[in-house]
Point group: C2
C-alpha cells in the first residue's frame, strides 16, 4: 500500500496549510470547490481522513458537530464559543493528567480530548450591547 501524490490530494493539503484556523470537511470542500469546481466532495473527505491518519494535518473531534481539521500539529487543546462557534487553540493543558488517569482507571495507552467552551470576547460585547437597549 503506497501513497500516491495526486493533484487532488495536494490541493486538499495546500488548502489546510495556507489557512490558519479550524474547518470542517465540508467547509474545506466548499473552499476548494470555488477554486476548482471539478474536485468531488468524496475526494476531499477521503483525503482529509488520509492526511489526518498520516499526521500531516490534525483532526479535531468536536462533540455535537463535525470533526474539524487544522494545520497546527503541536500539542494543544481547544476552546469554542457557544454563541458564534469560533474555535481557538489553548494550552496544552496538563499532559501529566494522562498518567494519573491511567493509574486510577486501569486503562492503558491513554489519550485525551479536552474541549473548553465559553463566550468569546466579541460575543461578550454583543451581549452587553443587547442588555443596554
Amino acid at each position: 500500500m503506497q501513497r500516491r501524490n495526486t493533484k487532488q490530494r495536494k490541493i486538499v493539503l495546500d488548502s489546510i496549510q495556507k489557512h490558519m484556523g479550524h474547518f470542517t470537511a465540508d467547509e474545506i470542500y466548499l473552499r476548494i470547490h470555488t477554486e476548482d469546481p471539478h474536485i468531488s466532495r468524496a475526494t476531499v473527505y477521503r483525503n482529509l481522513q488520509f492526511l489526518a491518519d498520516e499526521q500531516q494535518i490534525r483532526r479535531v473531534k468536536m462533540p455535537n458537530s463535525s470533526d474539524m481539521y487544522e494545520r497546527n500539529l503541536d500539542d494543544h487543546d481547544h476552546m469554542v464559543c457557544r454563541i458564534c462557534g469560533a474555535v481557538m487553540d489553548v494550552g496544552p493543558i496538563h499532559s501529566r493528567v494522562d498518567q494519573k488517569v491511567e493509574k486510577i482507571s486501569g486503562f492503558s495507552d491513554i489519550q485525551h480530548t479536552f474541549l473548553f467552551s465559553g463566550i468569546c470576547p466579541a460575543c461578550q460585547k454583543k451581549l452587553k450591547k443587547q442588555k443596554k437597549q
Copy 2:
C-alpha cells in the same frame, strides 16, 4: 410553558434511573421498546433532550458518536475504551483549570468536556492472548 408528567416521560426517566452506565438515545429507546412496544422513538429522543435540559439526567457529548445519557449528575469526566467502546467515569479532573483558561483565552462562562480514551483492562487481556497465539 409548563412541564407535564406523561406516562412516556416517566418511563424514559425511570429507564435512566434504574440502570447505571452510559447509553445512547437509541439504546435507551431499544431497551424501553422491549418492555413497552408502544412508545415511539421520537418520544424517547424528545424526552431525553428534555430531561437533560432540565438537569434531571446528564447528557455526555462524545466525539464521533452519539450523545450518551447517564443518571450520575455529580461533576466527573469520562474514559472510553478505543476497542470495545466501554465508558467509565473518572475524576473530576481539575475544575480549577477552567479559571486558568478563562484568563488566557478571554472567553467567559467556561465549561469543559474532558474525554479520555484508552484500552480497558478486559481488552488489554484479549490483546495479550492474541499475541501469544
